[in-house]
């Protein structure tokens, strides 16, 4: 078990190094930060001096090595815009994104799973058909359009919810949260729903398909034959056995929620990591861009690790196989 985790962590380091290297070589095509930092009236000498100060004249492999060397020591560099440490900027923005992603994941799960169960159990009911039809919309409309539609309906026409920003924050130690005030909720709900919609429909369809599969198996028939209540059969036996793929997908989706949040955050002007990276790209703020990409890679690796560990918790068969195989070796 521990060997497995260590092996995974070793892979993680490799993945992150590769991501960093690729992103570093890509940044050469994004543009020149100097143009964004100095006004049009700056002289060539001023431009050269700044380039030298930022270390942009060094060859790319050297720049990369320097950056990795610093990053290993926890020093992610300084933003070109304000000279603020990147770690500090990311720490400022991380709560906004994590809360948004967490809320959307929760929405997707608590709405998606029951809907999936329902449509799996009552295949022919009109409500199931409605859910399935509606889920097509969720899958096929791009996130930014859903966001803009929500803004139009609830922000502009009905005027119920604010259309942008993150306000109503409550300080809890180092973390500012949206969840402790009504205003906070009013700001987070639309972006969270926008972000959740795709995952929600995905989870619903997945649970439905798995349910249909599981309900046909013998042990469900035996369970019914034993005279167990529908409730126990459906939730105690059927749903539990659909969970392995759901966990996998949800895990992977939380990673992509982080990535998709770039679009949602832009549409709602949500001051999280997505907005930070968008602004960094338009400003060619290389330290932020590289740190962000590596951090996202880290998230993916960690989430995958957690998913792998959850398998053990949910599926007893895996535990047996693993012990026997390590025993054999």
């Amino acid at each position: 078990m521990i060997a497995f985790i260590i092996q995974r962590l070793f892979q993680a380091v490799l993945v992150m190094l590769v991501v960093a290297l690729i992103s570093f070589s890509l940044f050469q095509f994004v543009g020149d930060p100097i143009n964004n930092m100095l006004g049009v009236e700056a002289t060539i000498e001023q431009r050269e001096a700044l380039r030298e100060r930022l270390g942009l004249n060094a060859p790319i492999p050297v720049q990369f090595a320097t950056w990795v060397g610093n990053a290993v020591q926890g020093e992610l560099g300084k933003s070109y815009r304000m000279g603020k440490p990147v770690a500090e900027l990311i720490a400022e923005r991380l709560p906004a994104t994590l809360e948004l992603v967490a809320l959307s994941a929760v929405i997707a799960l608590i709405v998606g799973i029951p809907m999936g169960v329902y449509t799996g159990l009552h295949r022919e009911s009109w409500l199931s058909k409605f859910f399935l039809a509606a889920s097509l919309i969720g899958i096929s409309i791009p996130t930014f359009l859903i966001g803009i539609l929500l803004i139009l309906i609830f922000g502009v026409w009905l005027g119920w919810l604010p259309t942008f920003g993150r306000q109503g924050l409550v300080d809890i130690g180092l973390w500012q949260t949206s969840f402790l005030s009504l205003k906070g909720w009013s700001h987070i709900i639309m972006p969270a729903v926008t972000l959740a919609l795709f995952q929600l429909t995905l989870i619903m369809r997945l649970v439905r398909a798995e349910m249909l599969e599981v309900l046909r198996t013998d042990y469900i028939k035996f369970a019914r034959a034993r005279g167990l209540s529908n409730r126990a059969v459906h939730f105690g036996h059927a749903l539990k056995n659909t969970l392995v793929p759901v966990i996998t997908i949800t895990g992977l989706q939380i990673g992509s929620l982080l990535a998709f949040s770039i679009i949602t955050e832009t549409v709602f002007q949500w001051p999280g990591m997505g907005l930070l990276i968008i602004q960094a790209i338009s400003f060619v703020d290389i330290p932020i861009m590289s740190s962000y990409l590596v951090l996202i890679a880290l998230f993916f690796v960690v989430i995958n690790l957690i998913v792998d560990l959850l398998y053990y918790a949910v599926d007893p068969r895996l535990r047996i196989e693993r012990t026997s195989s390590t025993g054999g070796a």
């Binding site: 020149d32 100095l38 006004g39 300084k78 304000m82 900027l89 922000g155 259309t163």
Partner: protein, 529 residues
Amino acid sequence: MVFGKAFLAGISAAILLCGAVEAKTFRYSTTGDILGLDPHMNNEGPTNTMKSNVYGRLIHRLPDLSLEPDLATEWERLDDTTWRFKLREGVTFHNGNPFAANDVLYSFRRQAQETSDMGFALTSIEAINAIDDYTIEIKTKGPDPILLLNLPNFYIVDEEYMEENDAFEVIQAAGKINFANTNANGTGPFKVVEWVQDNKVVLEPFEGWWNQENRTDNVTRAEFTPIANDATRVAALLSGELDLIYPVPLQDIDRLNGDGNIEVLQGPELRTIFLGFDQHRDELLDMPGSGKNPFKDVRVRKAFAHAIDTSAIQRVVMRGASTPTGLMVAPGINGFQEDMNTPYAYDPEQAKALLAEAGYADGFTVTLDCPNDRYVNDEAICTAVIPMLQRVGIDVTLNAQTKSLHFNKIGEAEGNNTSFFMLGWTPGSFDSLNVLQNIMTVDGEGQGAWNCGRYTNAELEELTDQIAVTVDEAERNELIRKAFQIHQDEVGHVPLHQQALAWGIRTDTVESVIQRPFNDVDLRTVVMK
């Protein structure tokens, strides 16, 4: 019953209280955040405006571009290179420190540093000396006719405060946070309460402002929020969460005007958008092996000018929101020549004839370098120009890319690696000399920085040097006129238009605001209902 009375009294007290300090919060938004609060660090439109809400200058520029005294009350020229300024007495900074001559001297030393992007405004100044606490003398390196025009870009900071916080150095992202970039202490009408980068800047009026009695705004709190997404910005205005947004996307102008509570304010901007040609290389980059550069021939440049239909661009691409122009400077810029502002006539037949005469009857191939995120509809303008030129036989390939790449390619960074390009320019000093030096000449120190086609003309170079030192206004204007005439006759560049400003304003909360041609909000002009 008693309880009821107390309750009523409470309500009426609350109402009274509201009446006494009626909150008038002005919330506005544009595409990007300010770059920083350090007045001497960045030279960028929206940032400069925010600085001028907070910091005092010797001279303030009014929305109509005229000058009014700010921290200097009066000034006179003693001789060609010496100016004497009387400073305002009794002025305090936001932190309560008094303002005096030493602050001006300190600000000069700080802004004139090499790392200061605002240094350009002070290049002509040799030294500033204090005569007494409220009198200073400015010595210029030579006669400087536009010293006063540059002074609204000279921001005054508090020496004591800056020294206390070890903030003399202007640091551009060199691994250290610049204290002055996150903290502001000026003499301006507004003080910064809070700045959360990329999120909001909150300002409140400074009660101790020297001109408090003549205050023209009635804002009790101003919140500036950068919103990059056009649709989000428009939606926030429609839903009433913002009082003012700019720019309004051209396609949304009608939609907003149709809303009873919103008005779109439109006016011309000072930036001139133009096209330029490589007139320097002996062989055009796009015609390797030919040994020819057609743009060296004035007839070819004329042909291009006559082939481009500026009014069609205005009508179709800009939806009417631009002013076609024949000059490289906008109305309002010192040295603008009203009668010379007619665009080159649209005449494809003449263009063809000129090309044939120059020996390019069959046309040639050229690449048009164009930004796609810098000016209003920049890429669309370039796309519109291509078929116009195709009509006269020129085969144009479009190379549209993001501004940081575009400016590198056409600029000095890559040795003006372009044959045909788009650029826009607003002279920072609001004077024609800036355009002549940066765009139209190459000869001389600091000249030709954005003359990406290396256009040059001996007489025009000479005139520019004269204009730089001619103090007499009428004489100087005549020289500018001559210089512009040469440039126009030679088609050094093809000016296209000044783009229009479009601000969306909620009429149910905003009583009035003045739209300045440099496209940003001076909070001094905001009156709320």
